[in-house]
Structure formats: C-alpha cells, structure tokens
C-alpha cells in the first residue's frame, strides 16, 4: 500500500517530470494500479471514469511540500489547464506501489500519445468490468456499458484505441459474460 502523495509524485517523475491535465493523472494512476501497482487507493465511479479523491489530496500535499509544481496555463479558447512538474524535493522513486520504477515507466510510455479521452474510456471499461457493480453486469459487457454512459466520447475509433491500449497494458477487455 502506498500513500496518495507518493503515487502522485511518482507518476509525475516517471512521466519524465511533466504531466499535463488532472484527468490524465487520475486515469494513469488507475491503469497503473490495475497493472500491478496495487496502490491501495480507493477509486470510485466518476463522471469521467474511475476517480480517486485521495489522489487529489496527494497532489495538494506534494505541491505544499515542494515536491511538485503546478502551473496553470491558458490553452485554446482561453481555458486554463494544469501542468504538473516534479519539484526539487521530488526524489527519485524506486518503485510505484508494487511496480518497479522501470516497469512503471515502461507502462507509462505505452500511454504516451494516447488522448485523455481514450485513457478515460480504457479506464472506464476496466473499472466497470472488474470493480463497479452495475445492474445487468451479467449480460451487458463493459464496453457496451461504457458506450451507453459516454455516447458522444465512445466513437468506434476511440473504443478501438482503448481496446488496443488495454491489450498493450495486459488489461485486455473481456466481456463479463464471455
């Protein structure tokens, strides 16, 4: 079991010292947790897929302790987004939960270039499949359920990319009734 602050700092450092967006950090944390990180954090169903409130606290603590820096930048359409950078006191993690640092870094590399929406869909499919208890779970596969809940985001192309990512991470999407 790892505390949320260590997970937050570790994720940023192992991403090369920079991570953009709050959604991205949440989804990466969840996927890594499921890839064997076993962080001991509680993820719950959220509008944008699995979400961990403790991780938000961990980010705040890490920022307060100078282990990470958070910048808010203005993107297109004048909307701000958060950039997380490792700070001077971040340290170099030897592991991330039960994953060796190198192993975690390799998994994070597989998520590079994958859009936030695809990460969200991939994390949601796994979460609905293995953790969240939705009615009809015995007959509705998690991919179909994800499409129902996120009808606009779940284009065929994105679902296909999510499926591919899950295969690469070793978290293959298997329908609950298969």
């Amino acid at each position: 079991m790892m505390n949320a602050e260590e997970v937050a700092v570790g994720l940023i450092v192992l991403n090369g010292g920079k991570l953009v967006g709050r959604t991205r950090i949440q989804k990466q944390a969840y996927l890594l947790h499921r890839c064997g990180g076993n962080f001991g954090l509680q993820f719950t169903y959220h509008r944008y897929g699995p979400y961990c409130f403790e991780l938000v606290g961990g980010l705040n603590d890490a920022r307060a302790e100078g282990r990470i820096e958070v910048e808010e930048e203005i993107g297109r359409h004048g909307v701000a987004y958060a950039i997380f950078r490792s700070g001077e006191r971040a340290g170099i993690p030897q592991c991330l939960g039960d994953l060796e640092a190198d192993g975690a870094r390799n998994l994070l590399n597989k998520m590079k270039g994958i859009s936030d929406i695809v990460l969200e869909l991939a994390a949601t499919i796994v979460f609905l499949r293995d953790e969240w208890d939705y009615f009809g779970k015995d007959r509705i596969d998690p991919e179909e359920e994800t499409r129902k809940r996120k009808p606009l985001k779940s284009t065929d192309e994105r679902i296909s990319a999510a499926r591919k990512l899950l295969q690469e991470l070793g978290l293959n999407s298997v329908p609950a009734n298969a």
Binding site: T44, Y45, G57, K148, R149, L152
Partner: protein, 451 residues
Amino acid sequence: MGIESEHSRKSFRIRDPIHGLIRFGGSGHEHRDRTDLIAWRLLNTKEFQRLRRIRQLGFSDLVFPGATHSRLAHSIGVYHMARRLADVIAQRKGSEHNEDRERVVLLAALLHDVGHGPFSHVFEAVGEAVGIRRRHEEWSAEIVRGETGINKVLRDECERLPGQIEILLKENEPKDIYGAIVSSQFDADRLDYILRDRLMTGVDFGHIDLDWLLDCLEVGTVTIGEDKPHEAPCLYLGPKGVQVAEEYLEARSRLYRMVYMHKTTRAAERMLGELLRRVAEKFADLPFAQSEPVARYLVSEAPTLRSYLALDDSTVWAALSIYSGCSDPRISELATRLMERRLYKCVDVGTKDTEGGNLFSRFRLALGNLDAASHCLFDDATVVPYKWYNFEDESALNKVLVKSQNDMPEPEDILNVSEIVEVLKKERRIQRAYVPRANIEALRRTLEEVK
C-alpha cells in the same frame, strides 16, 4: 394526491414554496398533458413516495432548522423546471422540436433522484468502504428497469420508455440538446436545488433572477474536438444573460461554502459515516444484522433492490435509537450523540502551508501519539465552484457558454468575459478535524505547536 379519479379530472395541482402552483395536465397541449399524467402516476408509486422520507440536505437541519425539505419536493420542482427548459427548447427549435424525446427527458428529470438512499453521500461512501460499489444513479436506473411500480407505470405507456429513461439516467454527458435538461450547467436539478436550498435554509444570499435567466437561454452549437472538430448542440446565454449567469454561479459557490460544507453538518456526516462503518464491521456475523434494515443492507454481500428500498432517513434514525443501547461503546456513543445533537467540535486547520510542509499532514502526524485524538475524525475536501473544461471533448458541454456579443459566430466560455467567474474557478480546500468537546483544547494546542 390520489389517482383514483384521475380520468375524470383534467388536471392535478400541487402548491410548491418555490414555483407556486405546479399543475399536472390542463395545458391544452395533448402531448404535454399526457406526459404530465404519467408523471402524476409516477408520483403515486411507493418507490417515489419513499423520497418523502429522505431529506434533500441530510443533516443540514441540525444547523438550518428549516432545511427539512424532502427529495420528493425537490423532484417535483425538478420536473417543473425541466418543463420550463423544454419550453425554451421547443420555442427556439420550432418545428424541429422532438416531443417524444421531450417526454423521455421530462420523466427522467422527475425520476433522477429516485435511487437516493438516506443521508445520500454519507451512506454511499460507507457502502463503498464496505464493498457495496453502487451509487444512487445505478439504483435509480434499476428502479426504472426492475420490477417496481415505477417500471409498471412507464411500461403501461410504452414498453420502450423504461429503457430510454434508464439510459438517460446513466449517461455521463448530454447526447443532444434535450439531454442538457438533465445534465448541464443549467440543468433542471441545479436550477431547482439552488432556489429551494436557499429558501429552506433561510440564507439571505444567492438570489437568481430565474425568469430572466430562462429568457436569455438560447439553443445553438459549439465546436469541440481537437483532432476532428465538430459541432455539438448546446444551451448558451445571450449577451444580456452574462450577469445572471454570474449570479447563478456565485449562488452555487456560496451554498457550497456556507451550507453544504458547513462544519457542523460535516461533523454529523463524519460521525454517521464512522458509526455505520463500525456497524458493518461489528455486526456482520450477528443475527441482529438480519432483523435491522440498515445493518442488513450494509452486511449483505449482494444487496437487493428490495433491501435498498426499505431504507430511508426514518429507518436510519430508528436504527440510531437501537444502536444507542449497543454494547459496543463507540457505536453507542456516536448514536447517542447524533440523536441528542451533541456533535463533535471542529478544529479548522485551514490550508496554510508551512516551511515544514503541508500543515494538515503534519497536524495529523502529530495527533498520532495524542490520546485526546483517538476518536478524531478528519475532513479533507476540495470544492471548485466553477470547474474548467476544455473544448477538446464533449465535457465542453458542461461549461457555462455565453455570447457576449450577438454577432459572435459561436458561444464561448463565461471565463473569457467574467472576472467574477475567474475567481470562482479557484479550488477551495477544506481541512478539518472533529473531536468531542472535551478534547478540543488538546487538539488546538497541537495545531499551534505544528504551525
């Protein structure tokens, strides 16, 4: 509200403290009147009547004694607001208005809270902690789909209706402009609860000019998507609506700070959460757990819809009365304190950072060796009154969109035109500890020491 004579009457009426007279039927519009009649039948099902026994604001009446309004009253208000929003859409869309879709959305608005449990968010959090990984949205969908009076009323009208409503209740994003009635910044739920919670708590801030706001709402499209930009339908406010949008967001922000996150209410919630977790842990193997509905639900490996629908605020209060005589001293103490409103007191740590790092983390660490903190409950929450969403994906539809000039090609985020909203986008963190009054000084001293 009997339904026995519904066929012989043209309409039914309810008086509401927020919206005045809410009429079901009698509008002269056949399609809407038929929807109203279904809504009226839904109101009279036992699953909907259960909401009469669930308070909208849980423990808030411990601080604001007037805040005893039920989820039933709120749900009726939401239905009324949904009709007003649907009228705006119908007026703007003219002949393109889809009456069948409107019906699904209005009934979904009425039923959106039907799956709430007692002391909703506390109960859900305890449920999750003990392995019941199901939120009220899942229960709402199941109440609509499963063998219930609500399902029967809907199927009597149309076999497909329960499935259509179930999907809408589960959707995390509005699929079309009608979906915005149940899920958007100006959805019917928010419009009603802001007005209702303000009135019932008696707070004297947060007035919203609702008529003006609705009159300024327009139907349009906004371009979203980085890779493949496309147009998505949205509700937005015209140039004269910017100020009322600010009022609306400010009202929500202040309600969060001064009502929903009130230290005393949160203390009671933390105490109930701790109590129920302990009940689930201690009673799991006792026969008692099978006879008392709250414990039965919490210790069940696979709770059924029936066991869930047996729960409401009154069953929790009745359980507290039983728990107050429990042999476990912690359960007994917490139950008795809640019943007598002898709540834990709050040490507000604030969000100050010190040279040694985050104050709350250090405070918690320091409390580890303190006997007076053995029963301490913590609260660490973040509130963002106006969340940022980008235009990269469909979450853009959760923005407050405005056209500050009539000739703008498409609406923009209110952040671009409002300094007030610029302030509201900042995260506010709450960090508190709660202990019995006798221990409060010891905690305050510890806090001073670590500062």
